[in-house]
Symmetry: C2
Subunit: 660 residues, 2 copies
């Protein structure tokens, strides 16, 4: 057989009847395979597994616990837990109150709605959410997006009621969209926002939010409604005569204070409470300062009156017939997706630390319900912000009870303490937002992306630059499009590599990766690294032919044996479609004309099934399909022609080509 | 070592220093790998290879030959070739004249423009095209698309001049688009129209075109401008009193005649000329019949006057400032892509038969130039129609000279014979179109798709039903969207399979495909069948954990050894991005907590490089990365704990999970 040179351990393993054949897998009924595919697509985590073999009443309880995890953990709740949750709840409340007011301003909504939004949604989440660490509240990026998307249709200062109602309506649609994605098990849509996209997008959004704070810090009255850096810079530098130094000095001092405390807490995680308390401290100090110096009369803008009392119902404020309905829906969907992506990522990160599972689809339902209920009770879009959740985690929260504690603290504020915020200077709120946002610009992650994966870095920078120079939506669209193009490009331009045998083994590997691997004389072994689909079948045909041409050139110039076999290693070809089968058919015909033999190695079950149905196995011959590259090489060697024999058919076909 | 059970041929192959390690490939300079990737994406066929190591003058000649292949083959042209080309040229001219007139009617253009379009473009193609068999001319589907897309903006009967000018402008943009795709090496965009899409789309368009012919066959004056089946049927059956039986009888007779000759020629390819001549025969017979019986006065519509003379220049008719410019551009791009896809597919099929190569990008430049020149000389969109090219091929054409012969024949017709078409009845043209279109409804291909690949069948039917029930564009959009979703779904939901060892070998394969493969006790071997990207990293994490859970359940219920190792076979993972690396990191941490060990087998060069850069190899430990699954299993066996030993850490972590 002459295959000793190639390390083929013929029958060395005590195999009795030769080599294992590649069988066509047993036919599966169409509906069984459809069922399997649907299950893998929509229920990869198999949420119904725990319901198997249970009584009806047990199933009901499990179902209730599925949608309301509070029924699962509440019975096991202990006093020990309560102590921890109380501390963390109060800590996050002290962060939630100034942040709530600040972000509501960012969304061009009256500040009180920021407090409302920290009262009802956390209660809903505490019942339905499965994360133990997530702290619910509004987020800066979504707030700014609401301002810019709704603001382009309705002016918030000229028509505040309509604007407010549209914000509720957008929140409602965000909730409906989130809940339906969860119910329809389409949570994987969020996966299409890759890590790189989120790093770039968040960094860009944080930059934009910081730029917007220049209004507050410089005490400007008029400001651009655009979010891009060029408009903002023009707006800032065309009004230099309007800058208020009092405001600027105050803002810079508080920003410095907040950044220092954050830096300190970051260095010493034990003192997390210092940075957690800093915003409330700033608010109190700032308000006292203004109250004592009457700075509100010297160009320092203050919050002013805040209505006492709990959330008024707003279900009748939702507008479904307005000409702005489409704007509200669009705003809801985009902000909903972004808020959800942040919330789920945050929930998942902390779940990783504590080793429990977060079910993405279940979380989406919880977020969705929280926003639907919120939109009916004067709240705008909420999710699980990273900063607040991190404080919650560091403060040692044990369960979602910390959210309930926070809600109660906010409730007390709403009922009794709102007048205290009268003198709170807006510039302090700006400083709070800026210090929170600077933490979101994750330049280290961007450097990491650059080092590890240039393409991910391009996606990240696309998102960042798009958000900063054009628009938040445009940045997002750019990043998602580049990411998808990458996926398509992977399929459209799969890698093909030449395999060689690793000395003293029967293993065939990429000769570029393993320089000691040797090509087998007279045989070209190619590995295809992607499914063969319509998008790449033309390319693969061209590329395989080019590999053969190049190999023949190489052999000719080095005077080696001419090529007689082409082995395609199909191990990595996960699937094939009809275009792909036609391509194989064409390649076989081209090779036949050049007097070369096509051999397949290790096609997977799915591919074998389709090749069989398309009768390609008959055309190729079952004997030319082998389980391993080693078997295929052995079979080729067995039949290898004498070396260097010129191939008459090929000569003729070359002649044919050259004459016409 | 205790690995004899697993068929591991330890050192059986005379390996001296143990097992081959998986090395990180040598670092490549960024620009080198960028260059490689760009080359693979845009120049997979390496068109510059022939220019290497040539003198400047030789390079110039090669370049000229590249863009004008006529310089390549003309010097080798013989009298023998001329004889064959003359016959085939005259044959296709006899088909081109009636088809040209018919399709111009279909595009709502005056019939003479169909003849113009068969004169100039074939001459351009003869110089620039690389196919030897393609016959150039107008096509039915693109003609109908022009009518429906331009017709929705400008009424062809009310404003014929504007309509005509827009048709030229659309042709111009189609040409520019085609040529730029070719020049920018973006020809692979055409690959995204899969075979299944084209089958469905062509079938649907043919159905729609046939339905439109009911107007001509029934002699109706008024007819809907919509193309969907419902509007057409309503239009036909609300005017039953307008049906003209003379027209109907004549139409049915000619259709029958054409179908019979086509059937006959199909059975006996030697008599291809019978079906090729049939349309011209029908035109002559029909015209004679009308002339003799004066049927034009009894409800049979005729072509009427056709202007004598060659194509007038139309460069000044191109409109670039009209409010309809966007419509013209859109029409140009869509019809251009579709026409190009047909032309390239046709050229490629016949090149396959004769074993020569078609360069897709070069063909696009040729099509583009042909349409740009055409739009300046009163021609509308042309490409290489399948029917005409097949006749050309069967008639034994040798080179593109047959196109020149056809052009000369059409020129003679334009100069001297146009008055002869005065009495040609429209119903004959309808019959010619219908008989050509019925051949495009490839129901056998649809059945083949159904048998081999259900998903491709869905794509095909989506295109067909979309075209027939909604709109030609909508059908195309549906099909392309479903095709792309399939690609994304493949990446988003990759297959993971459990591997087992095939008895008496060291080969690990899918245990479902090879039922005799046995799982290795204490070790779970998973193969991942796709690149690990952001779109699937969450899914893979869930799925891997579920595999482990299920495996542990199975082991527990059967009382076997508990799980200690999880081997991921990465052979089929062609690439990984930063989200994928994070996923592996998370999986490793989850496994660590459950006291399981993660082992990787055979990561490819690209993956190794990225894992190294992201420091994951350090985290995992180089010793847990093996070249083959066999090596990995051997290493695991070497360290396997005593069987059934309960794992304390795992118990604890489970307890942890259940309390909170």
């Amino acid at each position: 057989m002459g295959n000793a040179d190639f390390g083929y351990p013929s029958k060395a393993n005590g195999d009795n009847n030769g080599v294992q054949r590649v069988e066509v897998p047993p036919p599966q009924p169409f509906f069984k395979s459809l069922h399997y595919n649907l299950k893998e697509t929509f229920f990869p985590d198999d949420p119904l597994r725990q319901f198997k073999n249970k009584t009806a009443s047990r199933k009901f309880i499990l179902g209730l616990q599925y949608f309301f995890p509070i029924f699962e953990w509440a019975p096991l709740y202990t006093f020990q837990f309560l102590k921890s949750d109380l501390i963390s709840g109060i800590t996050i409340a002290s962060l939630a109150i100034p942040q709530g007011i600040s972000y509501a301003k960012l969304a061009n909504l009256p500040p009180i709605y920021g407090l409302y939004s920290s009262f009802i949604p956390p209660l809903v989440y505490a019942m339905m959410g499965s994360s133990k660490d997530l702290a619910v509240g509004t987020v800066a990026v979504a707030s700014l997006l609401i301002a810019s998307m709704l603001g382009s249709e309705v002016n918030a200062t000229e028509n505040p009621t309509l604007y407010l109602h549209l914000a509720f309506t957008a929140t409602f649609f965000a909730g409906v969209f989130q809940a339906s994605l969860g119910l329809l098990r389409l949570g994987f849509i969020v996966d299409f926002l890759s890590h790189a996209t989120i790093v770039g997008f968040m960094g860009g959004a944080a930059t934009v939010v910081c730029l917007q704070q220049l209004k507050g810090i410089l005490g400007l009255e008029h400001f651009t409604h655009s979010t891009d850096i060029i408009s903002v810079m023009r707006s800032v530098f065309t009004q230099t005569h309007q800058w208020r130094w009092e405001s600027g000095v105050l803002g810079c001092c508080f920003l410095f204070f907040l950044l220092v405390t954050r830096y300190f807490s970051k260095r010493k995680p034990k003192f997390f409470w210092i940075s957690a308390m800093a915003p409330l401290t700033s608010v109190i100090l700032g308000s006292l300062l203004v109250y004592l110096t009457h700075a509100e009369k010297h160009g320092v803008q203050v919050i002013g009156d805040l209505k006492k009392g709990l959330n008024p119902p707003s279900i009748t404020d939702l507008v479904f017939v307005s000409p702005y309905l489409m704007t509200a829906i669009k705003t809801g969907i985009i902000t909903g997706v972004i808020a959800m992506a942040e919330g789920i990522a945050v929930g998942r990160s902390f779940a990783m630390f504590k080793n429990y599972n977060i079910d993405g689809n279940k979380e989406m339902i919880a977020f969705g319900m929280m926003n639907i209920v919120g939109s009916c009770t004067s709240c705008y879009l909420t999710t699980g912000p990273f900063s607040r959740s991190a404080v919650n985690f560091n403060a040692g929260c044990k369960t979602a009870v910390s959210n309930i504690v926070m809600a109660i603290a906010v409730m007390i504020t709403l009922l009794f303490l709102t007048p205290l915020f009268y003198y709170t200077p807006l510039v302090v709120l700006s400083a709070i937002i800026m210090s929170a946002m600077l933490g979101l610009i994750d330049y280290e992650a961007a450097i990491h992306l650059f080092k590890v994966d240039k393409f991910d870095f391009i996606v990240c920078m696309g998102a960042y630059l798009g958000v900063v120079f054009a628009d938040i939506e445009i940045g997002l669209i750019i990043a998602v499009t580049i990411s998808l193009l990458r996926l398509l490009l992977f399929v459209a331009r799969p890698r093909t590599v030449v395999l060689g045998i690793i000395p003293n083994s029967n293993i065939y590997r990429n000769i570029e990766h393993y320089p000691n691997a040797n090509q087998v004389s007279g045989v070209l072994i190619l590995e295809i690294d992607a499914p063969i689909y319509f998008a790449n079948s033309s390319y693969l045909r061209e590329r395989i032919i080019r590999w053969i041409d190049e190999e023949e050139d190489r052999l000719k110039s080095s005077g080696e044996c001419s090529l007689q076999y082409v082995i395609l290693d199909m191990s990595a070809v996960g699937n094939i479609d009809t275009s792909g089968i036609s391509m194989l058919d064409e390649v076989k015909r081209i090779l036949d004309r050049r007097d070369l033999k096509l051999v397949l190695a290790n096609p997977v079950a799915e591919v074998m099934k389709k090749l069989d149905k398309a009768k390609f196995i008959e055309i190729l011959g079952q004997e030319w399909i082998h389980l391993t590259v080693g078997d295929a090489v052995a079979a080729c060697n067995f039949m290898l022609h004498a070396c260097n024999k010129p191939s008459p058919v090929k000569e003729e076909s070359e002649q044919w080509n050259s004459i016409v």
